[in-house]
């Protein structure tokens, strides 16, 4: 080490642009806050909005005057935005942004629920159930993409999984056989993806789209030829049983949501932890991340890049297949043509919105699930807001995320780049 004096260079302060990210976010929050306070506030009836713990209008509830609530929460949103505009410390940025968005949603709810009631437990558990396939699909994406293979075929994996679960579950009259064949269905698509993308270096997005169309075609054909004529014989799978854990299920709100539910909810939540921990703390995870970021570096230390990618894509197929089982073994009890209806793409959006991390994916999936649940609720209570707007939310959120408005979204460096030995 040289001992001579090294010029200590402090960076020259360049004039920062006034409209930096924080100020832009702040301005956006102020604008939506104004919308909330003025539009929602003036439209809201001055009646009590009830958020009930039970399923009906009676019983314990959190109540607030609708108009007052809409204005109050809108003002809080404006305040959060103003704080960002004024330039608070960086570490508060995320919290203020979160506060602003949550209060905006609350303001919206106060307007909609004024004079009516919103059952909390049903909303939460409904959101979780709608989020379930999204969580599993996004986790499948995490597994593939962290090792460098873009997985656009989640939709196809869902469809194959759903179809396999319905067909085999009916034939074997066993929900477990159904679950296993859902996994097999997901893995079949994953294997084709892996084979074409890793072995033959075909563009991964193109392969994904082709596989989605393939899955749609095959399941649609078999559905029309096999299931539709004789639904009783081929298309009436048993439902996954719901289990209630005594004691824990009695906790208010959380109890009925988490501990009186079906197996898939637990599988999904446990997988979030397992994959998060696996990626961070195990040899498999370290190597997976290395292969997704810099495959040549991994190769030069003796890691089998392609082998690891094959393994992870197939594991992703297993998880997406379980997600497919949700459609026929939990949500409804029959397969239908194209019944996943784009859920695989919303899962992909959740993956990106969640920044390629398991917990991020969980959060994004829950948010999208909540949006869908809210859309259902609004159309049920006859709200003037078209529920299509809320159904758009996942896609809008993803565009915002990709545009970099909520922090830097950075994919694994080698995502989608096939590995060819020089």
């Amino acid at each position: 080490m040289s001992t001579a004096t090294v010029e200590d260079l402090t960076e020259i302060t360049a004039p920062d642009r006034f409209w930096n990210r924080q100020r832009r976010l702040g301005a956006a929050l102020v604008i939506i806050g104004l919308i909330a306070a003025i539009v929602f506030g003036s439209l809201a009836e001055s009646k009590t909005a009830k958020f009930t713990l039970s399923e009906d209008a009676e019983g314990a509830a959190l109540s607030i005057n609708g108009q007052f609530g809409a204005i109050l929460f809108g003002v809080v949103t404006i305040a959060a935005g103003a704080a960002l505009l004024a330039g608070v410390a960086k570490r508060w940025q995320t919290w203020l942004l979160g506060l602003g968005i949550v209060t905006f949603v609350l303001s919206f709810l106060c307007w909609q629920v004024a004079g009516k009631f919103l059952p909390l437990v049903d909303t939460v558990s409904g959101s979780l159930e709608l989020a379930l396939p999204l969580i599993l699909g996004a986790l499948a994406g995490v597994l593939c993409e962290r090792s460098g293979v873009v997985n656009v075929a989640i939709e196809g994996q869902f469809l194959m999984g759903a179809f396999g679960a319905a067909l085999v579950g009916t034939l074997a009259t066993s929900v477990w056989a159904g679950l296993i064949s859902a996994i097999v269905g997901g893995v079949i698509i994953a294997a084709m993806l892996a084979w074409l993308a890793i072995r033959f270096l075909v563009d991964q997005v193109v392969v994904g789209i082709v596989l989605n169309l393939f899955a749609l075609g095959v399941t649609g054909f078999l559905y029309e030829r096999l299931m539709q004529p004789d639904a009783l014989k081929y298309n009436s799978p048993p439902r996954l049983p719901e289990w209630k854990i005594p004691g824990l299920a009695d906790i208010p709100v959380i109890g009925p949501v988490l501990f009186d539910t079906n197996l898939l909810v637990w599988i999904a939540l446990i997988l979030v932890f397992v994959i998060h921990f696996g990626l961070k703390r195990t040899r498999w995870g370290l190597r997976t991340r290395a292969v997704g970021e810099h495959p040549t570096a991994a190769d030069t230390v003796g890691i089998r890049v392609r082998g690891l990618r094959y393994m992870n894509v197939l594991l992703g197929g297993v998880v997406a297949g379980i997600g497919g089982a949700y459609f026929t073994l939990v949500s409804t009890s029959a397969f239908n043509k194209n019944m996943t209806a784009g859920a695989g793409f919303i899962a992909l959006a959740a993956l990106i919105f969640g920044r390629w991390t398991p917990f991020g994916a969980l959060g994004a999936a829950l948010f999208f699930g909540f949006a869908q649940k809210l859309a259902n609720y609004l159309s049920a209570v006859g709200s003037p807001v078209p529920n299509q707007f809320l159904n758009m939310l996942p896609y809008i959120a993803t565009i915002i995320a990709v545009a970099g408005l909520v922090g830097r979204v950075r994919a694994p460096a080698a995502d989608g780049v096939p590995y060819v030995k020089s």
Binding site: M1, S2, A4, T5, V6, E7, L9, E11, I12, A14, P15, R281, T282, R283, W284, G285, L286, R287, R289, A290, E293, H294, T296, A297, A298, D299, T300, V301, G302, I303, R304, A413, K421, S422
Partner: protein, 505 residues
Amino acid sequence: MRGITKRFGDLVANDHIDITVEPGEVHALLGENGAGKSTLMNQLYGLLQPDEGEILVDGEKKVFRSPRDAIAAGIGMVHQHFMLVPVFTVAENIALGAEEVRGGPLGFLDRRRNRKDVLETSQRYGLPVDPDALVENLPVGAQQRVEIVKALTRDVDLLILDEPTAVLTPQETDELLAVMRSLAETGKSIVFITHKLREVKAIADRITVIRRGRTVGTATPDTSEDELAALMVGRDVSLEVAKEPAQPQGEVLEVAGLIVDDDRGVRAVDGVDLTVRAGEVLGIAGVQGNGQTELVEAIMGLRPARSGTIQLEGESLIGKSTKQVLRSGVGYVPEDRSLDGVVKDFSVAENLVLDMYDRPPYGSAFKLNPKAIAVNAAERVEQFDIRVSSPQSAVGNLSGGNQQKVVVAREMSRPLRLFIAAQPTRGVDVGSIEFIHKQIIHERDNGTAVLVVSSELDEVVGLADRIAVMYRGRVLAIVSPDTPREEIGLLMAGITGTNDEEDGQ
């Protein structure tokens, strides 16, 4: 290694090469860029498989199908482009592939033991590294130490270093040579790939010279530099650039307080003031990655400037498009020839008018004039000594030196006020280097202002009339080319011991 032959299509990269490395020796593989040194070593490390020949380790025949096999046989390699995952910590990078784990098949990482291994190896060999730092935040010299520690933790007997000094300052290079020496003393063998004669003479026990895929001789370190250079390139070359003293006139390019960010938004150029006068060559010296690339790109309008001014004879270039900058009389030889310099699938003739295709006489807004293009091509090929069978053949088929001549010919065929050459002779054979250098000096003597950026200090010293040394986005000093190399080297490392920063202004 015995009779190693490797072909890529028609190109024979290695032609029956024999090479032996003894325990505890530093064996230099000397050769020009593209001579086949790296190809040879990639076969030894299992990244490539030889078409013919065999590899013996301790007298035993081995087949290396992947680096895994080579590592198992006690061979380690530090690549020219570091094989480090930027978003990982140093300890993670070093552990990768040879992780210490607990919990059997589940393979939980044992971070404490991984960390301890790193610290032990780094202390044992005197290579300071911080196991918890993120690799992307480390300077190149430190990244290289990480690479060496990574190889050493795998208990190698033979360490291959592929062009390890290309990215280092002279001082860092000296440190590296000392490390190599002490490694050799502990009984490790080292293969040191380079094309820099000075370093070879300083460290090697034995030298093998490779030219165009063949071994052309072995030498001992007391062979003179001239002899080694002659072996390397096949004929006597003049390393000096012949030129008259410059007769600078008015200022052509004026850069003041320029601040530019790189792709990641990190400050790359941090307040640069420069002037280039007509009829002089301003050379920019500096280790790669100290803002030279971004500086040139900002001048060319390829990268937005955060603040500051760039003026060409009093007229601002800020906010102008690259096309406007070129049309205002700036010639530009980009750093990465194959990416930005030529369109490889286009013919030589087409590449020669890439900047003027929509201007008479070569064409108009709607059509090209093939006849004028062909005439121009014939003239340029003649004038710039471009060795090509026909101007209609694709540029991609030419050698690096001839491709670069195409770029230089194109940029010099317009009336110029300013000529910017970034790494003008990278990957170019010695004959073409001489020619290109002559053309640059010729352009200077015609009264054009010339800005040369090069990471080869020899090139900058040879060409420039004044040298600006860049370090971390700043011009630390402007010195005359007669300044001792040692001093320029210290400046390149950011060390300003004396107060001569205003020299040569």
